[in-house]
């Protein structure tokens, strides 16, 4: 299932990116519909399973938040959301695709399909924008990390209040390297999460720098028409 899903969404992502490279902004509506459909299927599967909704469906995991942001982004691309998705959404979703962790529910097959499509569409969103001619700015990396920390602080408070474990801030997912850091104590564990986020953001900043050095291979500089009010790129 994982290999087939990755192959399909990899091909789909390449097609969308190439299309955006030719003429930017045309496929946003279609991608929004797919994302909305994926999220609806996920909700339906979880609700049908009878699992406690507070512990599973609040958009307090990074990917849940990014899914909502990506859906809005496909309709109205903004620079702030673009950089958040580039620096945090894309690496997070890519990790989830490589190391999937899906809830066990009666409707397992639709949930798994929705899991892969949601994460793939999160990862595709910033690539779709970059192929349309708007490169991510390396200078936006610190702001994305700060936004991530603010979000984590909010989620930590919610976790403590409701006794849930969104963003794995209170306990590490079993069987992952994070379990080792958790055994060292709360502070080393939280510091390891921070270091992982900083590593992701740093790696994506390097990727953004690399894109800027080889722009022609990634996007078409003539994908957008000049603005009639004075030729500025908007």
């Amino acid at each position: 299932m994982q290999a087939v899903s990755l192959a399909f969404w990899g091909y789909f992502g390449a097609c969308v990116t190439l299309d955006a490279r030719r003429r930017s902004g045309r496929t946003g509506g279609m991608l929004f519909t797919l994302m909305a459909l994926s999220m609806a299927v996920t909700c339906a599967c979880v609700v049908q399973s009878g699992l406690p909704l507070v512990q599973t469906l609040l958009p307090l995991h990074l990917c849940s938040l990014c899914a909502l942001l990506a859906a809005a982004f496909y309709l109205h691309p903004t620079n702030g959301v673009y950089h958040f998705l580039w620096y945090l959404g894309m690496p997070g979703a890519a990790l989830a695709l490589v190391f999937p962790s899906v809830l066990q529910v009666p409707w397992q097959a639709p949930l798994e399909a929705a899991f892969f499509s949601t994460h793939a569409l999160i990862a595709i969103a910033p690539l779709w924008r970059a192929a349309g001619g708007t490169l991510p700015m390396p200078a936006a990396a610190p702001r994305a990390l700060a936004q991530c920390n603010l979000f984590a602080a909010f989620v930590y408070a919610v976790d403590r209040l409701l006794g849930v474990n969104y963003l794995f801030l209170l306990a590490a997912p079993p069987g992952t390297p994070l379990a080792f850091f958790e055994s060292l104590g709360r502070i080393p564990y939280l510091l390891s999460l921070e270091a992982a986020a900083a590593l992701c953001v740093g790696a994506m900043a390097l990727a953004a720098r690399g894109l800027a050095r080889r722009p022609g291979t990634w996007y078409n500089p003539l994908a957008r028409d000049s603005d009639p009010s004075g030729n500025a790129v908007r």
């Binding site: 800027a212 009639p228 004075g230």
Partner: protein
Amino acid sequence: MGGRLIAADSAAGALYSLGPAGVRRAPLPGAAALCAHGAALYCASKREDVIWRLDARTLCPQALFAGGPNVTRLIASPGGETLYALCQDGDSVLALCARTGAPQMLARAGQQPRGMALDPTGRLLAVAGGGRCEALVLDARTLRLVRRVPLPGPAADVAFGGGMLYALHQAGETAGRVVALRARGGMAWSAPVPGLPGGLCAVPGGVLAGAEGVACLTRGGALWRAPMEGLCERVLAAQGRVLLSDALLGGVYALTPPRGGCEQLLPAQADDLLWYTDAP
């Protein structure tokens, strides 16, 4: 949703509109600088020092404002409420109310300034200071000087894009150079362009520089160069092609880079070009 190329030819005293339906000619004495906002097209007349407001679809004049001496560039603010006119012979920038044409502000800008650009937020206005060998960044609301960037040669044009200010200046007798300046000061990169400097057009990730031909320049170097005879004074991107006007030999051309051909669209000597997309 189609688009049309609108070209102003001051020598012929006409505006040309090239669309899927063909070429349309509308007489307008001294038609030079162009810009558009919404359904309104603005055109400065070199002959009478006035600015016309026309219906962008029909090219019929709707209103007439007093302009300035030899307006070579017109820009509309993002909201469409203000028009900025670059008066080459007056060495100044004039801000006008786009609705009534009432003058709002006037600021000195270089010596025989040639190019002007408004940043995407509409807060900063850059002017290529011509013979003063500098690019000026003004506050678009007050026209107060924010930053002065000295350049090694006469400044031909400026453009904003991707958080950068691009300036094209002369660098030697028959050579130009594009300089990319960061928003907070400092040069990010620069690249030479062969021939006398013409015009700039910002594109995603870089800039199109017109000189003897057109080059697409980015931080990593030139993506492609399309050499031509003449001087490409106005350059713009539309529908995956580069549209340009030759100021020396005359003619408006469409170029399909990097290896595509060059096609003459109009035999006119266009002072300014504009890509207008009709409302859906």
